[in-house]
């Protein structure tokens, strides 16, 4: 009876035990499968090596070492182990020379252990389409208008699934700027080995450009792009100097072209260039105007003109010698019809500077000199009043005589002359036509007055010559064009020492005399 009551309980207990055991077995059977679902596999072409890496989804589970194996889907072969990937602590395996059949589906298996305990088991089905390419290492160097891109490949060309890299992917160089994005696909002959350089041309200076280099798989959509490398294209510093050189060259060319054009126009006759600069452009004139030169010192002799009334001796065509005092200048005429009279004068003083008083007429040559050089007699008559030293036409004789002051034979004058007199007497004839009055600095007003104030001519019956304004030669100068013809020195007899009272006043100007 006791057993009958316990039979249902025993049956129930055995049923529960069976369920529990079956559940436990299923769990243990499913452990590899469940463990296999806890891994993420990643096939990567990294640094030109075919790398299979895995990552556990449950990161709390950390195995101490891994064991890697694989099999091929299309071949009923057992699991194959990889020598370098047995009992490894790293979570990746290099399969560059292991997996060499591209179209095959490989099934990798990774076992994770902690000691002897299997913690994780991972499997996957991987083809070449699952392969991702890590971007290569590259450098960029920016210049003024181009960028040099250098890609580093290994010395020996790697193989992926037994084939060259270029069969699986293309090398892409992307160029980015503010407004332009360009894609460059350089044609690489042969395999990817050694250093590869590519130049991006036709870039804009002073612009920031960013470059990216990566592999683009031919059959996969998985593209991994690296971070951009940017460079600012700047003009080299030397370009500044080259710019200045260019500017200088341009200026030189411009100047040469301008000069050549001017010369051509001159040749044609369109432009006439004066060889002589106008006076305004003469620099000397500027200097002279700024720093006026002091006029050359002139040897100015002070002369005292003494009017002597003399009768005009008319030549009676008598060639007999007439008595004549030594003081009396011989009455002579020249070819021009002048009646020459002499004036005696005495040099009051001789001044080197030109600040002399009004001067008398230019001394005439005496008779003795006239005989020697009759032609030159004319010159003194027309020379300026202010004798500037010895002129070319003058001789020493007249100069010497000019040194003497015309002496007035009047007693008054004699007295005046006698004061300084040394007995030196100078006799010369003065042609009023040749008398110049030069306005001196000190006596400018007086000289002008003397020039302007001339009494009308007194008629003298014995006057044979009424006009001194006789044109002669080239040196005719109308000294006193405003003077009436009568304002002429009719002169008198030099031998007559007496001086008429009518003309006694030294300062009066009578009968053409310039009285002082």
């Amino acid at each position: 009876m006791l057993l009958s009551h316990q039979a249902p309980a025993l049956g129930l207990l055995s049923l529960c035990l069976m369920v529990y055991v079956s559940l436990a077995l299923n769990t243990s059977h499913n452990t590899p499968e469940s463990a296999a679902e806890k891994c993420n596999f990643k096939m990567t072409f990294r640094k030109y090596r075919l790398i299979l890496s895995w990552e556990l989804k449950n990161r709390s589970v950390v195995p101490t070492y891994y064991t890697f194996g694989y099999t091929i889907m299309s071949k009923r072969e057992g699991m194959k182990t990889v020598e370098n990937c047995t009992n490894i602590t790293r979570s990746f395996c290099d399969l560059t020379d292991v997996w060499q059949d591209m179209p095959e589906t490989y099934i990798p298996m990774v076992k994770g252990f902690r000691g002897e305990t299997l913690l994780v088991l991972c499997l996957a089905a991987i083809t070449n389409l699952d392969l991702s390419f890590q971007p290569p290492d590259f450098r960029i160097v920016g210049y003024a208008d181009h960028i040099n891109v250098s890609v580093q490949f290994p010395p020996v060309a790697p193989k992926i699934y037994g084939e060259e890299l270029h069969r699986h992917a293309s090398l892409i160089i992307e160029e980015h700027s503010e407004d332009i994005d360009k894609r460059h696909e350089p044609k690489i002959s042969g395999s990817f080995s050694g250093n590869f350089s590519y130049v991006i041309n036709n870039l804009i200076p002073n612009t920031n450009y960013c470059v990216s280099v990566y592999f683009e798989p031919r059959n996969s959509r998985i593209v991994i792009k690296p971070p951009l490398k940017c460079v600012l294209l700047q003009l080299p510093q030397e370009s500044g100097s080259s710019k200045s050189i260019k500017i200088i060259v341009f200026i030189v060319i411009f100047i040469s072209v301008a000069i050549s054009i001017i010369l051509i126009l001159k040749q044609i006759g369109y432009v006439c260039l004066h060889t002589e600069f106008p006076k305004a452009l003469i620099f000397r004139n500027f200097v002279v105007q700024i720093f006026p030169e002091r006029p050359l010192s002139e040897e100015v002799n002070m002369l005292e003109v003494i009017s002597v009334h003399r009768k005009k001796k008319v030549w009676d065509y008598n060639y007999d010698d007439e008595s004549d005092t030594e003081d009396e200048a011989p009455l002579r005429t020249n070819a021009r019809g002048y009646t020459m009279h002499g004036l005696t004068g005495r040099l009051l003083s001789q001044f080197r500077p030109s600040s002399a008083s009004s001067q008398a007429s230019h001394p005439e040559d005496p008779a003795d000199e006239e005989s020697e050089e009759p032609d030159k007699e004319t010159e003194p008559l027309f020379q300026p009043l202010a004798a500037q030293g010895p002129s070319p036409g003058q001789r020493e004789g007249p100069r010497e005589r000019a040194e003497g002051l015309p002496h007035n034979r009047s007693p008054k004058d004699d007295d005046s002359n006698s004061t300084g007199g040394s007995g030196d007497k100078i006799t010369f004839n003065v042609d009023l036509n040749s008398v110049f009055l030069r306005a001196l600095h000190d006596d400018a007003e007086d000289s002008e007055e003397a020039a302007l104030v001339l009494p009308p001519q007194e008629e003298d019956p014995q006057e044979t010559e009424s006009s001194l304004l006789v044109p002669h030669g080239k040196k005719l100068q109308v000294l006193f064009p405003s003077l009436p013809p009568g304002c002429l020195w009719t002169g008198g007899d030099l031998s007559d020492k007496s001086d008429t009272t009518s003309s006694g006043a030294d300062d009066d100007v009578r009968d053409g005399y310039i009285m002082r």
Binding site: P32, E33, A36, E37, C39, F41, T71, M73, S74, K75, R76, P103, E104, T105, I107, M109, L121, C122, L123, A124, A125, I126, T127, N128, L129, D130, E163, R167, N219, S220, R221
Partner: protein
């Protein structure tokens, strides 16, 4: 109004055939794009691979010699792709209750394959019309040789997909069977993907 629209329709109708014919000129792009998308979808469903399914691995013998001759004809490649598309679509359309993957992925794969099938069918029709014009230029021997090559390729492919279909039947369309079939069809797509470049006159890397 009506006359204007009629003119527009006639204008489009005149050029629609030309547009369709131009579409076949981009056959390589179309086939490559569709194939790559299907491979991506199948890859997303292949991992992780169950350990228990390792015992169900089978070599189906992908025919790799059907396009291995030196100068494959473009039309032959079209024929191959057309057969592959039809067979794969037939496999993915039957007994998919234990399909080892997401349902939406399977739907997308079937849609892509159906569209590619129609596209290749249209292009092959156009090729047949063009062949009639040039058929007189070819000798009888050349024509017979081309037919033999095509027939051989078709037989090889049909045998390959028949083995896959039989495998599924034998495994009763189990989870592991589908896992292995998915991986195998993906491998087939990857292999023939290289030949899409021949459609555009590009070289193929073997």
């Amino acid at each position: 109004m009506i006359p204007k629209y009629s003119r527009l329709v006639c204008f489009v109708g005149l050029f629609i055939r030309h547009i369709q014919s131009q579409d076949c000129t981009l056959l390589n792009v179309h086939v490559s794009t569709v194939t790559k998308e299907n491979v991506r979808l199948l890859s997303s469903m292949s991992n992780p691979f169950p350990l228990r399914c390792l015992r169900d691995i089978k070599a189906f013998g992908l025919p790799q010699n059907i396009v291995s001759y030196s100068q494959p004809v473009e039309r032959d490649i079209k024929e191959v792709f057309y057969d592959i598309t039809i067979q794969a679509l037939h496999i993915f359309s039957r007994h998919t209750s234990n399909f080892a993957g997401k349902e939406e992925y399977l739907t997308q794969i079937k849609s892509e394959l159906a569209e590619q099938r129609e596209y290749l069918k249209q292009c092959l029709k156009e090729d047949k019309k063009e062949d009639k014009d040039t058929q007189e230029m070819k000798t009888h021997e050349v024509q017979h040789l081309e037919v033999q090559v095509i027939q051989k390729s078709k037989l090889a492919l049909r045998g390959y997909f028949k083995r896959i279909e039989n495998y599924l039947k034998d495994k009763k369309y189990s989870y592991c069977a589908w896992k292995i079939v998915q991986a195998e069809i993906k491998r087939c797509f990857v292999y023939f993907l290289e030949f899409t470049k021949l459609l555009g006159g590009n070289k193929v890397y073997f």
